[in-house]
């Protein structure tokens, strides 16, 4: 049986205007899973709920350990990297790293020094002096130096330039080879095309898709139609008007061209909107 690094069951969080609705999924050990969805779909809520940064219902298991029963032990296995290290701006990197190291019995100082050299950190610098890219790398260095087995990345590449994003993706692939599991929330789907094995697609707090990236990319193709009736006859999904005619996703056919993750997301979202409108 495959080892599950992360197992989430019926994760539910109710806000006055938004509900993360009984969200269940699992990520196998050593895989990179991408959590996608438009802004406000519930990606950050999901990651924060997993970390219990927000109060929510449902169960979370990390490498078989129940979060609510072994909170400290489970968090030792996790490296949580938000959008960048935005904490303690007036403290030096060494002061922060020293404080963080105290929490982890398996903190590897050698490993931390190696990441500092690799990312060219000056430890006497203050956090506020780091660029956005460096802040993300600092978060990553902290997470990796305590030997995290599961990385939770929340929009970690949003503030990075294309080259830094490429470096970041390379780092994830290296970590994957070392057996680290990653759950990567982002709306920059091109990064996921590079690294992800599995796609979790959230829409308005509901899980719309959970499948291997390869299967997803094979299932949908993008086709352009001259008229709406033509798209209807072809059974196209999420048909919308474009510059020249109409575009929609088609399944079970070799026509059209391979759709990108962005296009799949847009057309599935469009289809959902259309179904909601017709239901009302």
């Amino acid at each position: 049986m495959t080892l599950r690094a992360l197992e989430v069951q019926n994760l539910t969080k109710v806000y006055p205007n938004f509900t993360l609705d009984s969200f269940s999924f699992a990520v196998e050990a050593g895989k990179i899973a991408g959590l996608i969805g438009r802004n406000g779909a519930g990606k950050s809520t999901t990651l924060k709920s997993i970390m219990r940064l927000i109060s929510s219902e449902g169960s979370v298991k990390v490498f078989g350990k129940d979060f609510s029963e072994e909170e400290g032990a489970v968090k030792e296995l996790i490296g949580y990297v938000g959008g960048g290290f935005r904490f303690y701006p007036n403290k030096t990197l060494s002061a922060v790293a020293k404080a963080v190291a105290g929490f982890y019995p398996h903190w590897n100082e050698e490993s931390f020094k190696r990441y500092c050299e690799e990312y060219a950190f000056i430890l006497s610098k203050k956090v506020r002096e780091l660029s956005e890219g460096m802040k993300i790398k600092f978060s990553l260095a902290l997470a990796l130096s305590h030997g995290a087995k599961l990385l939770l990345l929340d929009e970690s590449t949003s503030g990075l330039d294309p080259l830094s994003r490429e470096d970041f993706c390379d780092t994830l692939l290296t970590l994957k080879k070392q057996g680290v599991t990653v759950l990567f929330s982002t709306h920059i789907t091109s990064d996921l095309m590079r690294v992800a094995d599995q796609i979790l697609y959230l829409s308005d707090g509901t899980l719309l898709l959970d499948e291997p990236l390869e299967t997803l990319m094979k299932r949908y193709r993008l086709k352009r139609f001259a008229a709406l009736s033509e798209a209807g006859a072809a059974g196209a999904i999420g048909v919308k008007e474009v510059k020249k005619g109409f575009e929609g996703l088609i399944t079970g056919s070799e026509e059209g061209r391979e759709a990108t993750l962005d296009e799949i997301m847009i057309h599935l979202e469009w289809e959902k909107r259309r179904q909601n409108e017709s239901a009302h």
Binding site: K48, M51, R52, L53, I54, S55, E71, G72, A73, V74, K75, E76, Y80, R86, F87, Y88, P89, N90, K91, A95, V96, K98, A99, V100, G102, F103, Y104
Partner: protein, 216 residues
């Protein structure tokens, strides 16, 4: 818990926590409302909580391998450490004052005299601050000002009552220097310390319970 407390000292502490400890020396000022010494302790806790909020400390700490409910406990333990240090320093200053000042200057006309019983009152004022401030703050960690205003108001009402009691006939022994009416002053000191412990423990219990349900 050890790592959490170390982190509080290395990343969260505000310099005023140390500066306000020196205010214990205010007991050397003749005829002064010495109870305000304990208000400044609350002010340093306010600054610590404020800078922790601005530094995103709670969200960061909760992502570390700790139980979420232990995060407020560490903050309260650190605050209580400074409060106990303030009480201890105040007691030392009182001993020095009583050993070196003329007896006429030992009776305070502006509030309670600096003696053993006063330390008990101080513990009570500090405990009241803890009970009002921490459970309110950890219910909504983004609010620091409102819990501080409410807890300071509670402190000043209590200080007013303690100064009022000092002028009542039955409390006359509490205004004398320590070498007189030693027993009753010791009883007030022990009573104050017990109440401080109970109020701070209750503050920790409520804060931990409330913080677990907080969305960071």
């Amino acid at each position: 818990m050890k790592a959490l407390i170390k982190k509080e000292f290395s990343l969260c502490l505000h310099p005023t926590a140390f500066v306000f400890l020196t205010f214990a020396a205010l007991v050397f000022v003749p005829n002064y409302p010495y109870e305000v010494i304990f208000f400044f302790s609350g002010l340093s806790i306010f600054f610590i909580s404020l800078s922790a909020r601005e530094n995103g400390d709670l969200a960061f700490t909760c992502s570390l391998p700790v139980k979420k409910r232990n995060v407020p406990l560490a903050r309260i333990i650190v605050a209580a450490t400074f409060q106990c240090a303030l009480l201890f320093l105040t007691a030392i200053c009182i001993v020095i004052k009583q050993a070196s000042f003329p007896e006429a200057l030992l009776v305070n006309q502006a509030g309670n005299s600096a003696n053993l019983a006063f330390c008990g009152f101080g513990a009570l004022v500090l405990g009241a601050f803890n009970l009002a401030f921490f459970p309110l703050h950890f219910l909504r960690p983004n609010t620091v000002g409102v819990p501080f205003i409410i807890s300071s108001a509670a402190q000043f009402v209590l200080i007013g009552l303690l100064i009022l009691i000092r002028h009542l006939p039955f409390a006359a022994p509490l205004a004398t220097p320590d070498f007189a009416d030693y027993g009753i002053k010791l009883a007030v000191l022990l009573g104050g310390l017990c109440l401080y412990f109970l109020m701070t423990s209750l503050a920790a219990y409520l804060s931990m319970k409330r913080f677990e349900k907080v969305d960071l």
